[in-house]
């Protein structure tokens, strides 16, 4: 938090808009570049979760599947905290798996 942020808060002003612009742009560009609509992304997210749930029990609340962009490369990033494996072995809840789109595709084809 910077002095400016505190001043803005004290005066009840909105925070500076550049950060918001950057955030909105990154999101919209990730979609533009892949030609994936939010609906399709939602559908894909659900299907991925179903596939993963066949093998391990995951924390549906804490999970996130999103598109991230860096240097004009877009990756599908799934962050899915595992509660336990289906054999009953309990894992540490904080532990998460990060999978790029290629590994997700491999898993789906199994």
């Amino acid at each position: 938090m910077t002095l400016r942020d505190i001043l803005n808060k004290l005066l009840g002003r909105q925070p500076a808009s550049a950060a918001k612009a950057r955030e909105r742009l990154q999101l919209v560009l990730a979609h533009d570049r892949t030609d994936l609509s939010p609906d399709l992304l939602d559908q894909m997210r659900e299907e991925i979760l179903k596939v993963v749930a066949k093998y391990v029990e995951i924390d549906l609340e804490g999970g996130a599947v999103s598109l991230e962009t860096e240097d004009r490369m877009t990756a599908l990033v799934a962050n899915l905290p595992i509660k336990r494996t289906l054999s009953g072995e309990i894992k540490i809840k904080e532990q998460s798996t990060q999978e790029t789109i290629t590994s997700v595709a491999e898993e789906a084809s199994e």
Binding site: L3, L25, L29
Partner: protein
């Protein structure tokens, strides 16, 4: 005569971000530095490059007539009186019956490459036929954008298309930079835009009222040797295109010293 002509597309996707103003000023700058330069207005539906250069009353023929062989290229080229190293060629006029095709643009640019060191193509806004024509004839490109979400988004789309057409290098010019708004973080910063678009920055152009004044007169800032902020920026960009090492203007330093100190104080992370 074979010249190592650089054919540079100046494009943006979104309209009104400053393509034509950049083309006019770069053209004049390069010509003043001694390089024979042609500026080609590829936007024949809504052409404006003639107006910015003050050449609107001197157009007789266009590239269209050259292609139909009803006139020679040198008859269609409009030479700038004060800067004879610069010539303008409009691609066509709004009343044209047959639209130009990508092959036509390639042919015209090949002809221009015989006698000019630089061919700057002022690309129409959008990503439709006019854009495709202009891209077909281009070797490298300059993307013009403003630090605004809509302009950056459209620029990103155009960059994708240039990549698929094999145009490179593609460099970025960030236009209409307002140092005060960047200071107060109410405008995307230079790093924000270069990070998002992942392009090398050829230069930035400061917001400057003198641009409108010069447009009114039909005399680009670089023609009258103006030292206004935008004029310095344009001339720096032309220098960098020619391989000179010119440091970027720091928008934060455009304000006063005290203001700069205050800005840094306001941005210090305290927790």
């Amino acid at each position: 005569m074979t010249l190592n002509t650089r054919v540079i597309l100046i494009c943006s996707g979104k309209g009104g971000v400053g393509k034509t103003t950049l083309t006019a000023n770069l053209g004049i700058s390069l010509a003043r530095k001694g390089s024979p330069t042609a500026v080609l207005d590829a936007d024949f539906g809504l052409r404006n490059l003639d107006l910015l250069l003050g050449l609107e009353n001197r157009i007789v023929y266009t590239a269209q007539e050259v292609l139909e062989e009803s006139c020679r290229l040198d008859q269609a080229l409009v030479k700038h009186k004060q800067e004879p190293n610069l010539s303008l060629l409009p691609a066509g006029n709004p009343r044209m019956l047959d639209w130009l095709k990508p092959e036509d643009m390639v042919k015209i640019v090949d002809m221009l490459s015989q006698q000019f060191e630089y061919v700057l193509i002022d690309c129409p806004a959008g990503v439709e036929d006019g854009f495709r024509n202009a891209v077909a004839a281009s070797k490298e490109a300059i993307i013009v954008t403003n630090p605004e979400v809509s302009a950056v988004r459209d620029a990103d789309r155009v960059i994708g298309l240039l990549n698929t057409h094999g145009v490179k290098p593609v460099q970025l010019v960030l236009n209409r930079v307002r140092p005060k708004m960047m200071e107060s973080q109410e405008m995307l910063s230079i790093e924000d835009v270069t990070d998002i678009l992942a392009l090398p920055l050829l230069g930035l152009v400061l917001e400057d009222e003198q641009v409108i004044v010069s447009t009114n007169r039909g005399e680009p800032l670089t023609l009258i040797g103006s030292q206004s902020p935008a004029a310095r920026c344009y001339s720096n960009i032309a220098g960098r295109l020619q391989g000179e090492e010119i440091p970027l203007i720091d928008p934060a330093k455009e304000g006063s010293g005290l203001r700069e100190k205050f800005r840094r104080l306001m941005q210090t992370k305290i927790f």
